[in-house]
Symmetry: none
Subunit: 244 residues, 4 copies
DNA sequence: GATGAATGAGTCTTCATTCAT
DNA sequence: GATGAATGAAGACTCATTCAT
């Protein structure tokens, strides 16, 4: 939890995700069987990309820099990725997969009847842990850097995670109108993203304190809602009387 | 606030440009008189820069594009700003000034003894209004696009606004330890930034709904604190029992 | 007629074609008044482009090579031309203009009632002379190097010259159906292009001999047609009995 | 005709590859046995190369594209051809061979005493037919795309076909000086090439019309010559009176 | 033989910045 | 002050070719 950027460590585990033995399930493209070396290179390149994205952001990241960081020539990079965007997409895919594989079961096990604070712990702790181990996840989760711009392909992490949040929220607010669920989920998601940024900027006790703070915010925001089981008009003790 | 037009001394480390007060500069001070024409040009350039920053983001914005948008030549731009960063710095300065001039008095008038919801309205509504009128403010408020990176010069808006929030919060939590105040202020600030992004992405009723949502979040987060006058251990009804 | 590649010799004459004083006739673009130096650079770049096109062909020509040949940096080239194609387009435009200016009047003076051989001399000699002075004209006249591909922008010379030939032919075959005129013009044009290629490959007496040969071909092809004033069924003495 | 598969000795000047007869090579001759499998591969690659050349032209064709089109890896391609040029050379060789094999006997049978129109039919129809079946032939026949440039290796088709034409013409003009024969043959050849381009660009009736037109041109050009049996001064009825 | 991986120079193009007029 | 010209180092991406398995 303390070692930053450890993703894409050439571990074959992640590599397999894209290996697809030919004949097993013929994808749309030809079964261009990848050699082991190639898989390693891909992992290496994605690790380098994660580093560069974290250091400079997606926009300022250059494919040449990624190749250099990976210790290969630009041409090699383009043997595996058709363009810069595809690198981000694949990186996002793999992180999402790893996220799912690592915490999916645990998250599934979160019961709706548990107290909210437990639910928040069970949901946020893995996310924070994962982001600390894979800082690129935070970067990709931010999606398009230009607000109001149409989502690009490399926003997949953003889109997927938002959808995930919406699903969870919907489970807790079964009686709320869909528009409200979407709105709450959107706020929660962005709130968590922002909180994550702050959390990642600190270490040790300060980080822990910020984590608690984020949980407090979420708890107080959600508690009145789940208490009612809906995004109902909050009672006067919980929300501003004039319009909140 | 107007020292950004540093001489084009080719200094790449333009860091000092934002710290030295006018007149303090020891370097070969060129005549820095600002004529009416110059002021108009600067305003014109900053307006163009704001547009371009909003459209493409700071990183992808090109000085040539800014000059083109302003209808002047690149050379002219560089007669007023030593580099791209200085444009953002000056733009931030001016927005901050305008913000102060427009809403400073009103914000000052917010009395601590008013109910929290009133305070939130009185604080957020101007901010939202101002951001709608000056979308570049949102962009600059985000500061460095790379979380965890050392703040750059054009993060001034970020830094200043954060300080401003901290001051306000400190006023409401007079008995809380400074570290707590900083932490709460940091969370609030980032939360508001994130909320602002979402709000700006919508229009009309949806926007109003998101504004209400943001206020609700802030209200529920802050209400227990201001009720106690400190960042005290929240009582069991308001925070997760396990404190984390 | 003997000195190869002499086009775009920085002569202001050709430069004026694009100079358009602002206010005279507001074009679609802004009146971005070009400085004299810029016009010179354009001429220089077009000359370099002509050289490179002649040496390597359009496809293999690189913008860097053109810039290098012109003795400027790549960036300078792109200050005047948005891309490689535009260079060819502008070069073609200017050559066409120069062609018109140099020989337009003379060609206009060719009377339809003159004997065919005179007409051929009056038409081909200028063309040959012009191509010897501007070898790039030949290159551009060939247009798209991939037969069957849709015409690109830089095929303008090709298209324009073909149209010109068709107009001339139409004048000589007033009673022929349009399809026939087009067909004859197409054949003539391609025949001349091919002949020009050969002619340009030789010098001195050999070149003269090839010029005569080309004229003979054209004469014998056209003579029966203009004799009849139409692309009529040729009489048996002039065409193959079985199908020509 | 099959010596193009030179060892990949990295010699860039592959000029000798097209001139040395098999067995004559003094270099370190590797086993050049061609197995059935190898033949199939080569045919496959050449077919792909023909397609790509026709689609993009020789210059823009990439060896990777050829390999991809052939469904093999780049490495495989280079196991059979030392470089891109060699592919064109071998393709040209094979097309020439096929041309010879398919129509050689028929062309040989063309008797000099037949009427010219019959000769033209007997000569051109096969050529057109062959080009329609093998469009790459047209592409290769054009040889170097840069007029005036020294012929490259892949110009073999160009050179060979020109020689072939010259031989034929020589047979019809036994009394003409060699220089005249060469000149006439050169003109004829280029004229046919140009005509072929046009013909290939059309289909159906239009194509037939263009074929007739090309034959007419050739007939009218050649008829006076063969009538005299020499490239004599054409009589006044056939050529421009001023001779040039 | 065959494959995919690797290369590095090269292509087109952009950009922050400086210069001459 | 203002302009357009100039720069050269990147940036994304390609390609002919070679290498290791």
């Amino acid at each position: 939890m303390s070692q930053a950027r450890a993703e894409s460590t050439g571990d074959t585990g992640a590599a397999e995700a894209a290996t697809k033995k030919p004949g097993t399930a013929a994808g749309p493209a030809r079964p261009r069987r990848r050699q082991a070396r190639g898989e390693a290179r891909i992992a290496q390149l994605l690790k380098a990309a994660a580093d560069v994205f974290c250091t400079t952001g997606y926009t300022a990241a250059s494919t040449n820099a990624i190749a250099r960081e990976a210790g290969v020539s630009p041409g090699t990079l383009y043997q595996f990725f058709p363009n810069k965007e595809a690198i981000a997409v694949e990186l996002g895919d793999r992180l999402l997969t790893r996220w799912q594989e690592t915490y999916g079961a645990a998250l599934q096990a979160v019961r709706r009847d548990q107290p909210l604070d437990r639910v928040l712990d069970a949901t946020l702790d893995p996310l924070i842990e994962f982001n600390c181990a894979n800082p690129a996840f935070t970067v990709l989760m931010h999606g398009s850097e230009i607000p109001g711009m149409p989502a690009k392909d490399h926003d997949a992490v953003h889109v997927t995670m938002l959808a995930r949040v919406e699903t969870i929220i919907a489970g807790y607010l079964p009686d709320a109108p869909p528009a409200d669920v979407t709105r709450v989920a959107t706020m929660i998601f962005n709130l968590v993203k922002a909180g994550l940024d702050v959390i990642m900027a600190y270490e040790g006790d300060e980080r822990e304190a910020y984590i608690r703070e984020l949980k407090t915010i979420l708890y107080r925001y959600l508690e009145p809602m789940v208490r009612d089981g809906a995004h109902a008009r909050p009672d006067p003790a919980d929300a501003p009387p004039n319009g909140g």
